[in-house]
Symmetry: C2
Subunit: 465 residues, 2 copies
């Protein structure tokens, strides 16, 4: 049964399992104790730190283990930004950072650097955000992911590190998604990672803080991990994390080539196989194993359910699949279609035949889901444009209806009004803000902006063809 | 090789190992996902939460898992105390809490309730600390351990919970040391535990927050664990923690009886076998498996090293074995001898023969260590009291000498001065503050208090017999 959600959590690497088992026997004691069990635990911890530091590209005394990638990010952001409060209260982040970075940075004043439609920041835009803001507030810290967790788009970390260096602002890199594939180039100051993303066990994150980077831990004092991450070390998991990072790195080049070819095949074939699909993210500068696409007129949750029934485990950034009722902030920042969104992230060792089978079943599943929700059958089947004068402005009330219904109703109404007519779509679904403009672009219709309405928001669409 | 340091970290229970292995295969996916691997993980997480809640004596929705006991304490103290900031800024703790509690509480205004010489607080003293302090500052939270980690002394939690209830102050119980043995009685509001203390794996703590207790998480937003503990759940370890807690509870009554008998034997035999030993902690109201004693004229680190060479792994609260240069705050708060301190904490399944062997080798090891450091050979061998008039006040300069040297020098000098003479011991070793008065009490000499000195502190001892 193919599991295509490695970006959420990768299956445990066999080396991680072996190392964990061995360390359960050898490494359960307190590494701070001086008796033999403690000394043995300390040796294991030191060896794991050396192996992890080598893979990260830092010194062992620059690296600490944390209980998760999230904790690594929280501790890194708070420790680095707090140490530089005098230099400024702002934390500069890309708009597509992982939620753990955004939430940690949000405790300071947050400056978001926008991304382009491929989900990529520019070093120039980042540089512009590093100086004092209009109120004179400087930047304490900058944060940039090495690659995006939803789209796989790689960020120009080395270039951004250079502009940070010039501005004298430390850069924290969230390398959670990329660490399996190689170290992060460039002059970063702090780096965070998460073992279960590379095939290591849950319960282990890592945080590297380069020597010379100011760091002021903000949590209650604790002597573990150089005073930077409190609590008894999860040693068996740490040993397994380090061993598996080394193992996946040894396999990374070969795996990357194979997975990149599979993802390229999905990116090429999908638009040919499924009508009204938008493949998002950078087609070239991307992680080898992630591809994300959105399907017009599709309820993301239903599609995920159908894929699960067909044996495929994937995730989605659609609002209709989460409890938050908003589409993923990544898709929002990119300004791309969010409905029917599917993220495929292939674990190492994925068989090409499974990808073929995915491409074989997806078209049928999408059309089933579309038919069930009453979607238009696609541009070819939509009614011809009516001739004649532009009609009166029309209001399409979709209040209380969730994604993808507002877009479906719009797609049904528009062909029945004369060219030149403006339709005001009323919606209180957050996804509409993203999906109505995206639909207009896909259909070559004019999106004329949004206005506040008594309830929800009014989205203006003018039929132009 | 007998491992007698269960209070630091218990060896992994076989049930924990089995459950961990099974959950590595079944529970590596993200329990927040809706596909089959995620649903399977969610089921495991729910079942673990139910089992742990039953063992703790709370509802499953009152219990969250954290990455360690330390984190459970940190999150519990900050969440509960912050939620009641309007009621007061103080956190009331016993003076013998675990350092994780003291450090977490220290971020608020800290009120320490003293303990008696057995290490026990009184409910009356606790009650006195709960009202507004002289400046009018109220108590936001009270913290009390169920039993002490160094001495095993049990605290009157139910009585203290009652006085807290009357004062309207929530009580957080640190149950890290006792949870293996049974639930904590009484009307506590929050409770923290640590899996590796009961034979579960590292990487799992638990925090129970009773319904109705105000709680305001202070960390960056995160949807895991009801928004109270950030980061991807360490599911295999959580499953193992819950399964092993249930398993040790099933064995607790039988194990407790056996270990209690062994500890009683140590408590009785030690003073018969080793001269100048002080066994500390409550002899009756105590955990079954912990016993702590201190040996006059012994360097704790050397004794631990000798015990390790003889195959016994124990820990110590002596200053001379830690990097802090101060004796454990627990021994300090109790006012007992700290030099040559040894904590024996027996894991479940300890063989009585190992305890016998410990009692057989200890006397020889202690006398070897004493001989090496030049200690007096014991009261019997010390010179007779000199007759005659009290002599001139004497100064004994031990500046720069570490524990147990100042006490040894005092013990050598005192018999050579006339009865009635006052000796001023100059010392800059923190342990002297505890050990000089303790020595006077053991020897029946008069301790006349301390005074600031140009360097270090002057301790006044008057020979009375």
């Amino acid at each position: 049964m193919p599991y295509f959600d490695a970006a959420s959590s990768a299956p445990l690497h066999p080396v991680a399992r072996q190392a964990l088992l061995a360390a359960l026997d050898e490494g359960w004691a307190d590494p701070a104790r001086l008796y033999r069990e403690g000394r043995r635990a300390r040796l294991l911890l030191d060896a794991a730190r050396e192996a992890a530091a080598e893979a990260v590209g830092c010194r062992p005394d620059e690296l600490i283990f944390t209980p998760s990638g999230t904790r690594a990010v929280h501790l890194g952001v708070s420790g680095a930004a707090s140490a530089r409060r005098r230099a400024g209260g702002r934390v500069v982040v890309s708009a597509v950072e992982h939620s753990s970075v955004l939430h940690a940075a949000d405790r300071f004043a947050l400056t978001e650097v926008p991304v382009d439609r491929l989900g990529r920041v520019s070093a120039a835009a980042f540089a512009g955000a590093l100086g004092p803001d209009p109120s004179g507030e400087g930047a304490a810290l900058a944060c940039l992911q090495s690659a995006n967790h939803e789209t796989g788009t790689e960020q120009p970390v080395a270039e951004v590190a250079e502009v940070c260096r010039e501005a004298g602002v430390p850069l924290l890199v969230d390398a959670a998604q990329s660490l399996a594939w190689g170290p992060v180039d460039g002059g970063w100051s702090l780096l965070a990672g998460s073992a279960h993303k590379w095939g290591g066990p849950a319960g282990v994150g890592l945080l590297a803080v380069r020597k010379g980077v100011r760091f002021a831990p903000q949590e209650p004092a604790d002597e573990r991990e150089s005073g930077r991450s409190a609590g008894f070390e999860n040693l068996p998991a740490i040993v397994a994390a380090a061993a598996s990072l080394r193992a996946v790195r040894a396999e990374a080049a070969g795996e990357a080539a194979g997975l990149r070819a599979m993802v390229d095949r999905i990116r090429t074939r999908l638009p040919e196989l499924v009508p009204d699909v938008e493949v998002v993210g950078d087609p070239v500068r991307r992680l080898p194993h992630i591809v994300t696409f959105s399907c017009l007129y599709v309820d993301g949750e239903t599609l995920l359910h159908e894929l699960d029934r067909a044996g495929f485990s994937v995730s989605s950034g659609s609002s209709c699949t989460s409890s938050t009722l908003t589409p993923s902030h990544v898709l929002r920042a990119m300004g791309v279609l969010s409905e029917g969104n599917v993220r495929v992230s292939l674990p190492m060792g994925t068989a090409a035949a499974d990808v073929d089978r995915f491409l074989a079943v997806l078209p049928e599943l999408v059309s089933t889901v579309r038919a069930r929700i009453g979607a238009p059958a696609g541009p070819a089947a939509e009614p011809e444009a009516e001739a004649g004068e532009p009609g009166e402005p029309l209001v399409l009330d979709t209040l209380g209806r969730r994604c993808p219904i507002p877009v479906i109703e719009l797609a049904k109404l528009l062909p029945r009004v004369p060219v030149g007519t403006t339709i005001t779509v009323l919606s209180d679904d957050e996804a509409a803000r993203l999906d109505i403009p995206a639909w207009c672009e896909m259909r070559g219709q004019e999106y004329a902006g949004e206005q506040p309405a008594e309830r929800g928001t009014a989205y203006l669409v003018r039929r132009v063809s």
